[in-house]
Each structure stands twice: as structure tokens, then as C-alpha cells.
Amino acid sequence: MTAVTASDAVAAPRPKYGSISKSRRWALRWSYFFLVLFAIFFLTPPIYMFITSLKSSAEISAATNPWWVFEPTLENYIELLTQNQYLIFFRNSAIVSVCVVSITMIISVLAAFALARMKFWGSATLATGVFLTYLIPETLLFIPLFKTFAFVRDTTGIELMNHWWTLIILYPTLTVPFCTWIMIGYFASIPKELDEAALIDGATWLQTLTKIFIPVALPGLIAATIFAFTVSWAQFLYPLAFTTSTDQLVLPVGIVTTLIKGDVFNWGQIMTGALLGAAPPLIIYAFLMDYYIAGLTAGATKG
């Protein structure tokens, strides 16, 4: 395919070129120039968050240059971190995310192993189904789930609404399909000889999984874990629909709904809260960037 199209290019008139290295150097300069422009575009909001977070309310409403901090202060950070409410949001987010990540990884590793190696009736259909569910957005599911929860309350008396732990039930719908999908990809790429050898040596299926598959597919496991964590940390729609009391909110919803008091926007605190809330995924990303990117690209390139 490419060979044919490449030979088409021969027919085109030959351009006059001088030294290749010279044109390369110019291409390089232009690349850097545009990269700087795009980096400014991509980094302006987080940097502006940081700038605003260092300002006092008086400075924010003053008619000075908004891009510069004249009197840096940490009062926003101190106020937020001594405020019980924000710490509760943070705690709720942390517990929910950790639980969701653990549940997701257990479910998806077990299922991916079964689907990648141990065929059973309907396993191929299930693998496709897993991928299809990944494509169903949460915006399609929140209304029926809302109604279902009301129904559960009416019949069994279990109140699922307005509790942060409800989110632990809900988030796996977002994380499990994708994590299973990329784990299937990673497991399928492990050579069959490895587990055959283990089976001959008398290993059980569980031993094959824990002693061979998990260690060998560890990079994929880390990538899936990071994905599950980022998704559950960032989820906005489910907590907005299912939790309302301030002590049950998770970070994204808590910042959006409680720091805006009436029509008064306390921007210094909002930006500080958002920045601190964005910190955990950013820190994970900073240290595990390669795994993060591997997880991102795995979804579409594997399979």
C-alpha cells in the first residue's frame, strides 16, 4: 500500500534543495517556536490557577495586572486546609478512589485472565461486550440508575442516595470495562509457552495467574491502576447527581458547589481548591508518566 503510494510521489516534480542539514535546522527552529506557542496555550489555565491561588481577595478584585502576584500570600491554602469541609471532600475522594481502584483491579484482572487464556462458552462475545460497555457513556446511565436507587430504597429500605460510599458501587461501571480490555491485551501478548510450562509443572490456574501473568504484565497492571484512579478521582456527573449533603461530597463536586456561595465567587479559594484537587493525578502523572501514556495508547492500539 505504502510502497505504491510512495512511488506515486516520484511522478511529482523534484524540488530544488540545497543542504538538507540547513533545511532541517530551520524545521527544528520552527518546531520549537510552535511548541512554545502550544505549551503556552496548554499550560495557561493551570498556571493561572496557581497565580490566583497566591492572591488575597483584595488583590483579586483590584484592577491590577491579573497575570502577576504583587503580594503573594498562602492564606488561601491555610484557610482551605484548616477548614473541615475541604478536608472531608478530600477524604471522601481518597477513600472512594482507593476502594474503586482495588475493586476494579480485582474484577478486571480475574476476568481478563479468564477471557485471554481460558476459553469458555460465550467468552468471545463477552470480550466484545466488555469493549461495548466501555463505549457507553455515564451520561446515558445516570438517570435510570437514579430511578433504580429510588426503587431500591422503596422496596428494601436501603438508602443508596446521598452517601459517598454509593459512588464505590457506581464508579466500577466506568473503570472495569476499560481496565479489563487493556488487561486482556496485555495478557494475550504473553507467550503461551510460559503458562504451558507452569501447567506441566503442576501449577493451578490461580498460581499461573499470580506467579506468571501478574508479574509479567506488571506494566499493564500499573497503567490500568493509574487509569482507574484518574477516572474515579475526576468523575463529576455521578457525585453531582447522587450526593447532595456537604459532608458526602467528593472533591470536584465539593469545589464547584460549596465554594461558590450564592453569587459570590471566592476565586482565590476556588482556584486553590481546584489546584490541590488536581494535585494527586498530576503527581502520579509526574512520576509514572510512561505507564500513564502506555495506558492511554493501549486502549486503541492493542486488541
Binding site: M1, T2, A6, V10, A12, P15, L28, S31, Y32, F34, L35, A39, F42, P45, P46, M49, S61, N65, W67, I106, I107, A111, F113, A114, L115, M118, S123, G129, V130, F131, T133, I136, T139, L140, L141, I143, P144, L145, T148, T173, V176, P177, T180, E196, L199, I200, T230, W233, A234, F236, L251, P252, F265, A274, A278, L282, Y285, L296, T297, G303
Partner: protein, 310 residues
Amino acid sequence: MADIAVSRAGTVNGAGGRTSLHRLMQRKSTVAFLMALPLITVIVLLVVYPAIYSLHLATLNKSMERFVGFGNFTFLFGRETFWLVVKQSCIFAITAVVFKALIGFVVAHFVHNIPSKGQRKWRGMLLVPWVIPPAMSTLAWLWLFDPSYSAFNWILALFGIDPVPWTGDAYWARFSVILVNIWIGAPFFMIMYLAALKSVPEQLYEAAAIDGATWWQRIWYVTLPMMRNIIAITTLFSLIVTFANFDIVRVLTAGGPLDHTHVFATWAFRVGIEGGDIPLGASVSLFMVPILAVAAWFILRDITKRGNEA
């Protein structure tokens, strides 16, 4: 494969071939099914059931006591806001995805151009918008777009340009929503395309250069054909996510001014949860299904095709 190995081991031991092998096979599939059971439970209870249930919900009246058939849908078709939402959702998704793909493609090329030593650093910097939770980065944009303290308007004022009503005017608000979406999504395209660019064999470019291809010809005849699969699948993925997007519109404009930025997801939330009309909300969100189904069908076709090639 593994079964043959096991059965051979079995006959060596003299444990008797057929029946034990049969039992083993059965046990293996049972174990496998049990291992996949949690996944099946999650999918059936929390995805398949709600999806079917929303079909049922959409046919009920507001108090959910009476069956109204297509009543909700005919009601929606008669409302001007509904058609506004349809139009906006399509404009929003298509414009955003096209620009995300273009910017992602261009930036990926620039990153690919520079020496590989520095690539990691740039790639790391440019992916930051994708890593920040959308609800929080949209807050930063909301503050940048603030009607009275907008930092962008401050810069524009330096050049003597009148303040722009970023979220106040219908057209500017749509522009702002799309801009934020592009800002969040373009890095994802960049990463995908960069991975695809790395997989194009260098010899093809060398051959093209020797044949005297211009940079445009190199992109058109070498890069694009090699990246076609990745481009298609990334675009389809992004189309689904953008079309069903909720966070950005909700935080930035909450659908305003006068419903001129509502998309299906935010309007379904407004009608169904905030307005208390669950069946109508379910009907609104169901309108996302056709476009999602088409995109999903294309993605699945692509994946099974590639699965057969491998």
C-alpha cells in the same frame, strides 16, 4: 494448546485419557466462568440493566405511573429547546473533534521533529490538560472568562480591544465551550498520533526524500496512510466522549445563556434530575444512542478486522 500438554502429561501418568481430560476441560471452563462472574455482574447490573431500563422509563409519564408510548418523544419534537440542543450537540461535537484532531496532529509532528532527548519533556508538558480532572480545569477557564475580571480581556484591553463576553453571549459561549473542550482533548490526540508516528518506518521517509517528495507529499503519501487506523479509531473514540460530554458545559455555562450551550447530557440532567421529570430526562439522553451506536459499530468493525489480520 495448553490442554494438549496437560492431556499428554495425563496419559504418561496412566491416569486414563478421555474421561479425566473431559472433566478437566469442564472444570477449566467453570473456573474461567467463575473468574469472569464479577465482571458479568457489574456489566449486567450497572450497565445493561440501566440501559434497557431507560428505554422503559422513556415511555412513562412524569409521575411514572402511566404508559405514554412515544408521548415523551413527540413532546420533545414539539419543543424549540430540544432542537436547539440537537443542533448544539452536533456543532459542539463535530467542531471540537475536528480541531482536536488537527491540533493533535500538528503538535505531534512538532514533537516528533525535535531531537528525541527533549521529546519526553515536551510530551510531558503538553499532556497536562488531559491529566487535570476536567471539572477543575474548567473552573480555571471559568475564572479566565469571568465577566468582570477576565484575564484574557485584560490582555485584549492592552491592544485596545473591547472586552469579550466569553460566557455571556450565545455565540461566544459556544465558542468558549468548544475551546475548553479542544484544550482538554487535543493532548490525547497528540499522544496517540505521536505513538503512531513513531511506528512509521524511517526508511519510508528516506525513500520518499530520495524520490524528491516535498514535506506535503511525505505527509500525504507516507504519514497519513500509515496512521489511518489510529486516526480513525482516535477520532471515533473522541466523538463518543465529546458527544456525551457533561463536565465542561455544566461547569462553564450550565447550559446558559438561555439554553444556548446545552448539549444532550446537560439538558438531560437539567430536565431529569433538577426538573424532576425522570422519564423526559431519560428520553433526552436516549437521543445520544444513534450517534454512539454508529461510532461504536465502526470501532468494533475496525478492531475485529485488525484482530483477524493478527
